[in-house]
Symmetry: C2
Subunit: 361 residues, 2 copies
């Protein structure tokens, strides 16, 4: 086994080594049952314990209050883009969307198919998402306000969250569990697992019970949040292995000391990387407003696309993989999710210094 690489993939992304090692050790025989956890019934004791432990860890790490339910769903964040307006955007209502990147746009497009929407703020002009709006133009009596807390492609992130009268719904797919949160301020938080929580195939949803109760009763039952809340996410077969890996990942965060510690670790990584960019005399350039810089997806440019391609090729050779920016924007991107260690980021910072020394004219 050779795991000497540093995985900067944007998602599916690297998993913490201890979480993966634990999965490896018990893959063929879970807890002495003679079966893989994948082979256990979702209604049996072995999986039930994993399911409940994972929910308890979500509650503990994020301090989820009793007013909110924790759900494990399928369909990705992209599925939620549809089911959120289907559940909560009734006739005659308007939903506010803050559009700060490609994923916000997609969420908005799905909502437009369901009901009335209003763009309450954007992250830049002409699809150039370099900022986070400091003021929002909110609709009186909006059904909800939707934001994307971190923008994986643009490399921006809400540093603090707006206060809204309507339920605040946040897609936190790319920064969930990276920092402490005050969950009670949110009507709903949702996150596809494949960045900070586990493998693709499960979506974590944390939603206010009173909001869930107000969901549509005429859409198909499987698409109602209430269906899943009523059955503790066992209405139908959950993606058991994905939940199990999430358990391993959350247990690792818990052992590390929880989200305060994780936030400090992520800050350390981001400071090192932005520091390397800012200290490069403009050789490396962040296209993002300084006060909107993401701690999870750090994007930067080089003097030319040729140099960017060379950087990516040589970095890959050096074991630093996944650094190519999203195909829609180009450039470089280091996704420094929880699983990426400060040492891994240190290797990238060293590589950046050497590359610049060798290639700056």
């Amino acid at each position: 086994m050779s795991r000497d690489i540093v995985n900067f993939n944007a998602g599916p992304a690297g998993l913490p080594a201890p979480a993966l090692k634990r999965a490896h050790e018990e893959l063929l025989d879970y807890a002495g049952t003679g079966m893989s956890i994948m082979e256990h019934s979702h209604r049996g004791k072995a999986y039930d314990a994993v399911h409940k432990e994972t929910m308890a860890l979500v509650r503990k790490l994020l301090g989820v209050p009793d007013t909110h339910d924790v759900l494990f769903l399928q369909g990705g964040a992209s599925g939620m883009f549809a089911t959120i307006p289907m559940n909560f955007l009734g006739d005659g209502q308007t939903a506010d969307y803050v559009v700060t990147g490609t994923w916000s746009e997609k969420a908005l497009e799905e909502a437009k198919l369901i009901g009335e929407t209003h763009v309450a703020g954007t992250g830049g002009v002409d699809g150039n998402y370099t900022s986070i709006p400091s003021e929002l133009d909110l609709t009186d009596g909006a059904a909800y306000v939707h934001i994307t807390s971190n923008n994986t492609i643009a490399g921006t992130q809400f540093q603090s969250f707006p206060t809204t009268k309507a339920p605040l719904i946040a897609d936190m797919s790319s920064d969930i569990m990276s920092r402490p949160l005050d969950v009670k301020n949110f009507g709903m938080i949702y996150a596809g697992a494949q960045k900070n929580l586990g493998p693709s195939g499960v979506v974590l949803v944390i939603a206010e019970k009173s909001l869930i109760e107000r969901g549509s009763k005429t859409i198909p039952k499987i698409l109602r949040y209430k269906t899943h809340a009523d059955k503790e996410s066992l209405y139908h077969t959950p993606p058991t292995f994905a939940v199990y890996i999430m358990r391993n990942v959350l247990a690792w965060i818990d052992e590390l000391g929880g989200l305060e510690k994780m936030a400090a670790r992520n800050e350390e990584k981001a400071t090192a990387l932005y520091g390397a960019i800012d200290a490069s005399d403009g050789y490396y350039r962040s296209p993002v407003d300084a006060d909107a810089r993401s701690r999870m997806n750090i994007v930067w440019r080089l003097p030319s696309e040729e140099l960017e391609a060379k950087f990516i090729a040589e970095a890959t050779e050096a074991g630093l993989v996944g650094l190519k920016g999203h195909r829609s924007v180009g450039g470089l991107r280091a996704s420094t999710y929880n699983a990426v260690s400060p040492e891994g980021v240190g290797r990238l910072v060293d590589f950046m210094a050497k590359f610049r020394a060798a290639n700056a004219s």
Copy 2:
């Protein structure tokens, strides 16, 4: 590691040992990449090869013609219960449902929320699903005809499929890949993976391209089959690890000789088990019509519920696990999916003989 048990779980169910062993061997380092397959981008070379190989294996094993697309989706068969009528049951149309068990009922209930439905046949009276209808009362010009090919709870199975003018849509969650099929006779086949294909969290869909084209263009984009067909199931992040395990399972079926061989193996297992029931002088009793008996979920009763409980306890002790009938019907159930070996069924048959000798009065 102790894998001396025989797993008769109804789903999530046992996986073929070679498929699981392969996953174990490469869990931490997939194909020398230094990363788990879970950690690879769904747009990278490593996963893309797995994705395409899995699709190719589906096409090869089932002989899927070019007229049909192969999709990997999320949300389980229960998700399809909603998205099928949302896509294909338009205003002024009627969809025919053949109701042969609990899962057909659930599919019908979701469709009723979308449009007009008609029950074209049932598997028994008063919710007592012991048969498969030999004749159907089909609607002229129906949007589609929906059947459940195998009924996991009732233990019944279509031995052959009806000929319909409207597209025939079959939930094959519990018998996909257990026998050869003539795919061209179906508008759509779908199957949650967790019985014969892999872990829970991925649904295999095989659908006629012309049917997909006719799907609704006004429902949310993520819920349209066309969205996924157009992007070869990479419109959003697929459940990559679940697809990967499906690849391992299908490769195992292929190595075994394909679906003719698999059908013969399943027939051998079912013959042994039904033989043990029928030769027990009524001690073991099949509640199902002889011509409707499932080859995948074999259900039977004992003279009393007390004896059934004793049977389950002693069988579990002997390493024969997962034999408890569904909580809604009671009794015994052996799910003899592809991964269950003839030797495993032989152990159950031996146990049945010994139990009867010790407990028959």
